[in-house]
């Protein structure tokens, strides 16, 4: 039933393979040119071959699993200690199981709401994977929510100022004694376009509104819809040194490549000051622990040591007086287990990384400039969460920095230093497995792109030049890039 049942044996093998058979593999790589010189291959093939990098299939370094099944996002990183594996299992139980309204006999998991979007983490991150927007009126969102704020205003910690009635997020569920805040209504407008070769395409632009608003109109607010992200490799991303991100940043585009890359600086509750943001669609969370605590608080109404106050506004006095599930509602050590679980979900290995079309797509991806932001390779430093994440070569295809993505993708809702046009470069590892794990191929922060090509075509701003180059590729070249992305 649970993602965790992934085989510990399966996950052990690949890493042993690295250590045990690395020599053999390098031997083969050395032999390959000899065979090719034997007349089998054209120059083109030889050039392609040079695209293969040693160990590139290990997207998460040691924390990589070879699994392409529906459980591909749910497996523990190989190399966890036995105790870490056990706590991962406990974290998994907290991640999967529903929280219930207080008071309840289920004392370990009571305290849901009063307002909430989901009853469990897995309610949105189903199989630890990617959520999607509702597909028809009345479909209860599974992994889709809307952040709201008063335009241009910030609160005491520099975060977007919430609406006086609804706070910073619209919750489409409430406990029995309260009315839910509102229901989201989603419409799309089709925007036709053509590739340079004349092939037509169409992009769907979302138009978000609300109905059943229980606590006053939801008008005049900045609104930012978000889908739940897949959970892969976050322990690795947390272990990327801040100095690496600072080195990648180019806020004033001094290198003149048209791509800047800025650090978000966001409130760090544990440190009581602003620090570098690296999680969330706008990099508005500084640490994985705070990201998890924020999701408990905003999405499920569960208080933690980090966010002790119930998610209530003064405009709904009945909210704060509801029975709660303790203060905080999830104990610190259980929160830490969910953080460990979230950190330790392994990165799925590449599929078909040596296939000719994938290798061609990889080359085009680089040549048209995608890697300016989707940085292919990073090194982790020492991890505070688990040793397995320390000092790994990883291939997340992100710089974790903010980039102006143009008017088309803008949510016009600033978040700390992120402007209304800026988004964090999302990691691309695992994106080829959404269909297998979550049964859809919807991409981007609000799931508007129905496939990878549409996701690319939505890119604008700093990515306009790369997008235009993609639009000018021929069908075969475009297909190769898609094949490459699907291999991630």
């Amino acid at each position: 039933m649970f993602g965790f049942f992934a085989s510990s044996i399966r996950s052990v093998h690949p890493s042993r393979f690295v250590h045990g058979l690395g020599v053999l593999r390098y031997a083969v790589l050395l032999l390959v040119p000899v065979v090719l010189w034997g007349g089998l291959a054209s120059c083109n093939r030889a050039a392609l071959l040079s695209e293969v990098e040693p160990d590139e299939e290990f997207s998460g370094g040691r924390a990589t699993v070879f699994n392409r099944s529906v459980n591909a996002f749910g497996l523990p990183a190989p190399g966890l200690t036995r105790q870490e594996e056990r706590l991962f299992g406990v974290g998994n139980s907290f991640f999967n199981q529903n929280w219930v309204q207080s008071p309840a006999s289920t004392t370990a998991r009571d305290g849901l709401g009063p307002f909430f979007n989901a009853r469990s983490c897995a309610g949105c991150h189903f199989k630890d994977g990617r959520g999607r927007a509702p597909e028809f009126d009345g479909e209860s969102p599974t992994g889709y929510l809307v952040r709201v704020s008063v335009p241009g205003e910030v609160d005491a910690i520099g975060a977007p100022a919430g609406d006086p009635n609804y706070g910073k997020q619209v919750q489409n569920n409430a406990i029995l004694d309260l009315q839910k805040e509102a229901s989201v209504v989603l419409r799309y407008e089709e925007l036709p376009g053509t590739y340079a070769d004349g092939t037509p395409y169409s992009l769907r632009k979302p138009i978000v509104s609300f109905t059943d608003e229980a606590y006053g109109p939801l008008d005049g607010l900045a609104m930012s819809p978000r889908v739940a992200n897949h959970m892969s490799g976050m322990g690795l991303l947390e272990a990327v040194p801040e100095s690496t991100l600072r080195a990648l940043a180019d806020p004033d585009d001094l290198d003149g490549d048209g791509v800047s890359g800025r650090l978000n600086m966001v409130w760090n509750a544990a440190e009581g000051r602003a620090t570098v943001g690296r999680f969330g669609w706008k990099a508005n969370q500084p640490t994985l622990k705070q990201q998890v605590a924020d999701a408990f608080h905003g999405d499920m109404g569960i208080t933690t040591s980090i966010f002790m106050e119930e998610n209530c506004t003064a405009a709904v006095p009945d909210c704060a007086t509801q029975p709660n599930g303790g203060t905080p509602e999830i104990d610190e050590d259980d929160l830490d287990k969910v953080v460990l679980y979230s950190a330790a979900l392994a990165v799925p290995a590449r599929r078909d990384w040596e296939a000719p079309d994938v290798l061609r797509g990889k080359r085009y991806f680089r040549e048209i400039g995608c890697e300016s932001c989707h940085v292919s390779k990073l090194e982790t430093g020492r991890s505070d969460i688990a040793d397995v994440f320390s000092f790994q070569t990883i291939r997340p295809y992100t710089d974790l920095l903010l980039h102006d993505m143009g008017e088309g993708l803008a949510d016009n809702r600033a978040d700390f230093l992120a402007t209304g046009r800026e988004w964090r470069t999302p990691p691309l590892w695992g994106i080829g497995l959404f269909k297998t794990v979550n049964g859809h191929t919807n991409y981007l922060h609000d799931g508007r792109a129905r496939n990878l090509a549409e996701a690319i075509l939505w890119h604008g701003g700093e990515a306009e030049a790369a997008k235009e180059k993609f639009r000018h590729l021929d069908a075969d070249e475009r297909a190769a890039i898609i094949a490459f992305l699907e291999s991630l």
């Binding site: 039933m1 992934a6 690949p14 070879f66 299992g89 199981q97 006999s105 290995a349």
Partner: protein, 380 residues
């Protein structure tokens, strides 16, 4: 590139063959034993479910304290072979493939309020919701299973368990559902219909597994027997290794003791979790040792993984065999009931976690001793 990769794959076994001394005939014989025990385990599970279904039919047609007890006894008996059959999970087999019935048979934990009333929510559940679900049918219950959340379990052993025992609100004993739920209660007829329907479904879904492993048929077993032996052995060891080290040791035991919460115990309504643990461990031993004692007392046995590993490396073989014994011993040593043991006897519970994880790790060693070329794990 593909040609090159095939060259690599052909070359690799030559380099990896060190230590692989079991003959192809032995490997195929071990696969045959595995298939035989799978079939026998599922056939026993099916037959015990038939007895359960008969007891439930007798109960719903004449609900008395003794017919309820007979149904409970039949449920407990039905869990014995099924628990052992779980050694066939996590093995890329038919129980958990995309169309496999595992989630319809043994899904847990179960949100009681999804099925029937609970303390504080007298109108909860499918049983008490005639407006929304006017007719309780097999199709309806299957369609509702795991809808919206993993705990929304509508069918399977644990739905039946809850309908027979009710919530476990007792410090010392199991659930104690009043007989009036099936006699004078306003929704007694709907509850009877629910119980009888989910019992029928248990037979349907177990029959799928019997058919999948039946000899001399065009089914999963015939596919399994044509697998590359290396692949088959890997599946076999992956299955029992995963059950031992992760699913049983962590999901089913450690989580409950760490959370101190009977909501995390497997058979929480009947207080039968100790038997779940013991039968799972026994199932692992059955597969590894190639020997299964059937419900009728006869034994199915043949060439085993244990034989193959011993032949390959007797030291590793001895070690794994001792771990199998230790895991069986530790599993049996957990005090009953489990929901008290996780509070009062944590050392005994944690000892079983250790033993099962040791055993799971030792299966990795056993696979290596068999010279299983682990690079074929890589995706094509």
């Amino acid at each position: 590139m593909n040609k090159l990769r095939y060259l690599l794959f052909f070359a690799a076994p030559a380099l990896l063959a060190i230590g692989c001394t079991s003959s192809a005939e032995d490997q195929r014989a071990a696969m045959e034993t595995y298939a035989e025990i799978a079939f026998a385990s599922y056939e026993d599970s099916y037959n015990a479910a038939v007895a359960l279904d008969e007891a439930i039919d007798a109960f719903v047609s004449a609900p008395t304290a003794s017919s309820l007890q007979a149904a409970k006894d039949a449920w407990l008996a039905a869990r014995e072979p099924y628990g052992q059959s779980e050694a066939y999970r996590f093995a890329d087999g038919p129980i958990d493939d995309a169309d496999g019935p595992e989630g319809l048979l043994n899904a847990w934990p179960l949100d009681e309020a999804y099925v029937d009333y609970v303390l504080g929510a007298p109108d909860a559940g499918i049983v008490n919701n005639a407006d929304q679900f006017p007719t309780i049918s097999a199709d309806l219950l299957v369609s509702l299973n795991e809808q919206g959340a993993e705990e929304n379990v509508s069918v399977g052993y644990h739905a039946i368990e809850f309908l027979l025992w009710g919530q476990d609100l007792s410090e010392t004993g199991a659930g104690n559902r009043p007989l009036t739920d099936y006699t004078t209660d306003a929704n007694a007829e709907r509850r009877k219909q629910y119980l009888a329907t989910t019992s029928d479904l248990l037979l349907v879904h177990l029959k799928q597994m019997v058919d999948a492993w039946a000899p001399d048929a065009d089914n999963y077993r015939s596919t399994f027997m044509t697998l590359d032996p290396e692949q088959a052995l890997r599946n076999m060891l992956t299955g029992i290794g995963t059950l031992s080290k992760s699913e049983l040791a962590v999901e089913r035991i450690f989580v409950a003791v760490d959370n101190q919460d009977q909501e995390d115990e497997h058979s929480c309504f009947s207080d039968n979790t100790h038997r779940d643990i013991i039968t799972n461990a026994q199932g692992i031993a059955n597969v590894y040792r190639g020997s299964y004692q059937r419900t009728n007392g006869t034994t199915v046995s043949g060439t085993s993984l244990e034989d193959l590993v011993r032949n390959a490396d007797s030291a590793v073989g001895d070690r794994i065999s001792s771990y199998v014994d230790a895991a069986l011993t530790a599993s049996s040593a957990i005090p009953v009931p489990f929901d008290r043991a996780i509070i009062n006897d944590q050392d005994a519970v944690l000892a079983s976690v250790d033993a099962l994880q040791d055993l799971g790790d030792s299966f990795v060693e056993g696979a290596q001793a068999l010279g299983i070329a682990i690079n074929t794990e890589l995706p094509d």
